[in-house]
């Protein structure tokens, strides 16, 4: 099997890349400022909906149903898209997808394409692959434009240039816009509104002359063959409407079964992502429309490691991800390490579970990603499709340990932990043993764990385990037996 490409040069490992990032004070300030701004706003947007928990549970269930019957829904989608005038292509990996897109562009005779921000094309390294075929891809999302002009790499799912502040963006525009097209206006300031205006002027000529566009999609509706792109700036509308040919590259997990299902995701995604009740623009299209928009529509369905993740019954839930990036914005590790340290198009907590599953745990980098977390659980709390990221992280750590790539001490600890956790009685005994031995708690751990305690306190062991406390305080209560409330009260 060929290696799965995820569109980023590989660092030796997460800890090494993160160590470099944490010494970059500017980067840390930019990230802290941006992620803290969005955190509070997201919380307010979510609090507006009293049924958030119900929406979240439905979103997870709909995606679970889809994933369990993905072959069924893929075939249904293919039929609906084809019936509506689109053409469906299947790509097993990045090279396959890139070849298909390059051939489709060449068939139009064009050497330039405009692009809507898309994680899938980032993942497969489409721009580089097209460049090798003599085709220039212009990114049109503001943050992607900043990354492209700055010859940089994306560091956030939603805002790929989150590591850049306004004055750095101004510098990039002044320096590089002229090389790609219309130069930045004279006397450009670093006011965000002026920077947005500069991007508008720079890209307008490209939109008006573009013949081919490449996009991804946020959702594909199996029953109707409809694709959905959620965006803010209007660059998506430009790309989806003005060119003659539209090529959409979409991961096979982006399906939802029915048109009605969108009522769940169109409420969850904007509030989780940009903390808005609704994003400024959402476009939906079904095949081609007579006299309106592209005359040709191609859908490239991308596997690129997704079926590998699908085969893992614990890890499978990562494929529910709708790429909102809420988990990045609340993650203490992401905030300090930055997105580049994750060595993939998918940074942050979701990247730490998605990348090793898509790419496999063959490199040191990918084996280190499941450890890029303190398991604090904030990512799970904010996830709109309830992906239990800590659960998958621990599961992947076990898999890393099994391959022999983990730390020897951890391999031993993992085996011991699994032995204890597998059996509730064993766990209870272990906890009581630890409680009785509390006063022997060392200040420093022995052996290979000593380095860990050089800079940390060994956690205090509580007088009583949670399980014992629960049994003592709730055991005789009306809800004994763990059944739902009310069941035992009749």
């Amino acid at each position: 099997m060929t290696a799965v490409h995820l569109g980023m040069p590989a660092f030796p490992s997460f800890p090494e890349a993160a160590e470099a990032a944490t010494t970059d004070a500017q980067l840390r300030r930019n990230l802290r400022n941006a992620t803290h701004t969005i955190r509070d706003k997201r919380a307010r947007a979510v609090a507006e909906l009293s049924d958030w928990a119900g929406l979240r549970a439905a979103a997870a269930a709909i995606k679970n149903r889809t994933l369990r019957h993905l072959d069924h829904y893929l075939l249904q989608l293919e039929e609906a898209v084809t019936k509506a005038g689109g053409r469906v292509h299947w790509a097993i990996d990045a090279a396959d997808a890139n070849r298909i897109v390059a051939e489709l562009v060449k068939a139009t005779g064009e050497t330039h394409v405009v692009k809507v921000k898309s994680m899938a094309t980032q993942e497969i390294g489409l721009n580089e692959a097209l460049a090798a075929e003599g085709i220039t891809a212009y990114e049109t999302d503001l943050a992607e434009l900043i990354v492209q002009l700055g010859d940089d790499r994306p560091s956030h799912i939603l805002v790929p240039a989150i590591h850049r502040n306004r004055s750095e963006i101004r510098e990039i525009f002044v320096r590089a816009m002229g090389r790609w097209g219309r130069a930045a206006p004279d006397g450009l300031t670093d006011r965000p509104a002026d920077l947005a205006e500069a991007a508008r002027l720079h890209l307008r000529e490209k939109f008006l002359s573009a013949k081919v566009a490449v996009s991804g999609a946020n959702f594909m509706v199996a029953e109707t063959g409809t694709l959905v792109v959620v965006e803010s700036e209007g660059n998506g509308r430009m790309c989806l409407t003005l060119p003659e040919t539209l090529i959409s590259v979409v991961g096979i997990e982006k399906i939802v079964p029915t048109w009605q299902d969108l009522e769940v995701y169109l409420q969850l995604l904007p509030r989780s992502s940009t903390a808005e009740r609704m994003n400024p623009y959402t476009s939906t299209w079904t095949g081609t429309a007579e006299g309106d928009g592209p005359r040709e529509f191609h859908l490239v369905l991308l596997d690129n490691g997704r079926t590998g993740a699908l085969a893992d019954q614990v890890g499978r839930q990562a494929l529910r991800c709708i790429r909102c990036s809420a988990c990045l914005n609340v993650c203490p590790v992401y905030e300090r390490a930055g997105g580049h340290a994750y060595g993939s198009a998918y940074p942050g907590p979701i990247g730490a579970i998605l990348t090793p599953q898509l790419r496999g745990i063959t490199s040191a980098l990918d084996a280190s990603l499941p450890y890029a977390s303190s398991l604090c659980g904030a990512c799970y709390e904010v996830c709109p499709v309830a992906i239990d990221i800590p659960e998958v992280l621990v599961h992947l750590r076990e898999r890393v340990a099994e391959t022999g790539k983990g730390h020897p001490a951890e391999r031993t600890a993992m085996r011991a932990a699994r032995w204890v956790l597998e059996d509730p009685a064993r766990l209870a005994r272990a906890q009581r043993l630890a409680t009785r031995a509390r006063r022997f708690r060392p200040r420093h751990l022995p052996g290979p764990a000593a380095a860990w305690t050089d800079t940390r306190e060994v956690p205090r062991i509580p007088e009583e385990s949670f399980r014992d406390w629960w049994r003592r305080t709730q055991g005789g209560g009306p809800r004994a037996g763990g059944g739902p409330a009310g069941k035992g009260g009749r």
Binding site: N30, A34, T37, E48, S50, D51, G54, A57, A58, A61, R65, R68, H69, L70, D71, L74, L75, W90, A91, I92, D96, I146, V159, I162, N165, P192, A193, L195, A196, A199, R200, R204, S232, E233, G234, N235, R237, M238, L240, T241, L242, P257, W259, E263, L266, E276, R277, M278, P280, Y281, S283, T284, T286, A289, G291, D303, T307, G308, L310, A311
Partner: protein
């Protein structure tokens, strides 16, 4: 040799070996334990909410009766100093009756993006408006026109009739035809790409004026 289509499908099926063979997609439960709408007030209250939410995301909101509409549109175009205005093929006849001196370009399918880039304003109707999210949905019918019409000009005036207002996203989806190209608009073009702070005005119309007609 297996083609990519067969290979992907074979891998999907192999990955799902744990799913019982006789499980149909509908057998897997999906509880829809959420509200059909959050705003449950009278039509007037829902219309007020729409106005509030549109304004909250920097759309300029106007409210008038059907009889006042031509006068209001004339005033808005004059205030924007619009010399020419693009309209879809079937904009109701009297809407621009009072807009004297404004050149009206009716799109018969031949207006190019470059021409529209030099047009001052566009006036359209809409298909549905969602109060809870402050969203206007266009479905490209003849009173709204092709998608590029409401996209390329920098100033969009969109007229919402009272019966088009719904409370929620779920109610809007039920009214819409997925086979038509749809554009959901919530305020003017915006970006959060600089320091995750929202700025209005990038590629779409930088001024969105919504006219809510009263009963």
């Amino acid at each position: 040799m297996m083609g990519s289509r067969e290979l992907v499908l074979a891998r999907v099926r192999a990955a799902l070996a744990d799913v019982p063979r006789d499980e149909a997609p509908e057998d897997f439960p999906v509880d829809r334990d959420y509200l059909d709408a959050h705003a449950t007030g009278s039509p007037a209250e829902v219309a007020d909410l729409l106005a509030d939410n549109l304004a909250d995301y920097r759309a300029v909101v106007h409210r008038c009766s059907a009889a006042e509409l031509p006068g209001l549109l004339a005033r808005l175009l004059a205030e924007h100093r619009s010399g020419d205005v693009a309209v879809p093929p079937a904009l109701p006849g009297d809407w621009l009756a009072d807009s004297e001196g404004v050149r009206v370009l009716t799109d018969d399918g031949s207006l190019t993006a470059s021409r529209l880039d030099r047009v001052d304003s566009v006036v359209t109707a809409c298909a549905v408006a969602v109060a809870e999210t402050g969203t206007i949905v266009l479905d490209a019918k003849p009173d709204q026109g092709r998608r590029l019409l409401s996209l390329v000009p920098d100033h969009h005036i969109c007229v919402v009739r009272p019966e088009q207002v719904v409370a929620s996203v779920a109610q809007a989806l039920r009214r819409l035809d997925p086979s038509r190209p749809l554009t959901w608009i919530s305020g003017p073009s915006a970006t959060s790409d600089i320091e995750l702070d929202r700025v209005e005005g990038v590629h779409g119309p930088r001024t969105l004026e919504a006219v809510l007609l009263a009963d």
